[in-house]
């Protein structure tokens, strides 16, 4: 038998397995031909052919012969010679067999009538039909594992990592106290000074630290900070130094010049 026919796997309602097993079972009368859906076998064979690139004429011919024989077998089985069958039985036996079949069918028919009435009685009952239960989680299949590779990986993880360098985060500006001392020294020599003038040449960070030093001195009550207008120069004077009118005039001139 050609492999395309021999290896044909079938999943029919009445049979599941290879085609050659089906043939064997049919020939041994283990399965009734009337139970087999021949069209489904043909469809399975055609699908099998479509999966292959080349047309196997031998297999096709063989399949045609086999399926034709099966169809004839099924046709004969579907229309048996009932008269010959009954003639083998005595009248009493035939009547008993017929009665048994009829009784079984009539019992089922009566059961069907009972069910129909039951259904009628339930017609007024409505209920919610929910979705099907959640499917179980599919089992996760792991790829083949190599224990030595796992050991290597664990060993790599166990090594202590190199210390992280924080050098780029070092503080690169002078302490506030340095400016506090500088301003104190300045105010011992002069009564007042202009903050912007003193800060010339310093970086933005240094200027910020210097401003913090001013706030510190103001908090201690050592200095007075004044500014004529927003964004005007900041003027620093000793806390014990009263601001005179002439000072105010000078400040206005100074502001005018700055502006």
């Amino acid at each position: 038998m050609a492999s395309a026919v021999r290896d044909l796997e079938l999943d029919l309602d009445a049979f599941e397995g290879p085609f050659d097993l089906l043939l064997t079972l049919l020939l041994k009368d283990a399965i009734q031909p009337s139970e087999i859906d021949m069209a489904a076998i043909v469809v399975a064979f055609v699908e099998r052919l479509a999966e292959r690139d080349e047309l196997d004429l031998d297999a096709c011919g063989e399949f045609l012969v086999l399926i034709a024989a099966l169809l004839e077998l099924k046709a004969r089985h579907l229309f048996p010679d009932e008269e010959a069958e009954l003639s083998e039985l005595e009248p009493e036996e035939a009547a008993e067999e017929l009665a048994r079949r009829l009784a079984e069918y009539r019992r089922m028919k009566s059961a069907a009538i009972w069910l129909r009435e039951q259904l009628e009685g339930q017609r007024e009952l409505y209920f919610r039909l929910g979705p099907a239960p959640l499917a179980p989680n599919p089992e996760r299949r792991l790829a083949p594992q190599e224990p030595l590779r796992l050991v290597e990986a664990m060993r790599g993880l166990a090594v202590e990592p190199p210390p992280v360098s924080l050098s780029h985060m070092a503080l690169r500006f002078p302490p506030v106290s340095q400016f506090v001392e500088r301003f104190r020294a300045l105010l011992t020599r002069r009564r007042r000074f202009d903050f912007d003038t003193e800060m010339q040449g310093l970086s933005r960070v240094e200027q910020a630290v210097a401003f913090l030093a001013l706030l510190e001195l103001r908090k201690e009550g050592e200095i007075v900070i004044s500014q004529a207008a927003p964004f005007a120069p900041i003027r620093i004077s000793r806390a014990d130094e009263p601001v005179s009118d002439s000072d105010d005039e000078r400040m206005l001139q100074w502001i005018a010049r700055s502006a």
Partner: protein, 200 residues
Amino acid sequence: MDRPLRLITSNPVDSLARVIEALLVVASQPLTLDELAEATADDIERIETALGLVRERYSEGRSGIVLQHVAGGYAFGAAREAAEACARLFERPVERGLSQAAIETVAIVAYLGPVSRPEIAQIRGVAADSAVASLVERGLIAEAGRESSPGGAVRYRVTALFERVFGLESLAALPRLDDIGADQAAICDRLLEVAEARAS
């Protein structure tokens, strides 16, 4: 309404009854006593007591929702007085156009299941392909393995939905086959009588 609605208080069984109500609302199919006991981590006896409270509260004439004992479990359904309104909005698609052949087939599966299609066809005397397919599609029967012989035919059994649609507490609620249908001996006698009459 004969009595006012009974308010569920803080009694421990009342609390259990409330939990059971919630479970029945969430469930999409009837819940058995065992399932309720497992979900509530309580014992069957208390579950039955609590179900009594729920049944009292959700009964015909007292509530639009009624507690039903169907398909081996408990489920909520609409009260009969709401059937007309329900019918305007919904239908029961499972039983729509259920043919005589389908009813006979489902009866055979209910009584003899698990049973294969060839066996059904043998009893009914005609092919059962279309009736079986229709019943499977409606969810009234389902596959239940194959016959043990090599390449065995698919066998079918009725589903929990069948029990619910037909209002059966379980398959045990089906009437005994001996109680219904024809008596084989009587049929046999009638057949012989007919045969003798024709022979004479």
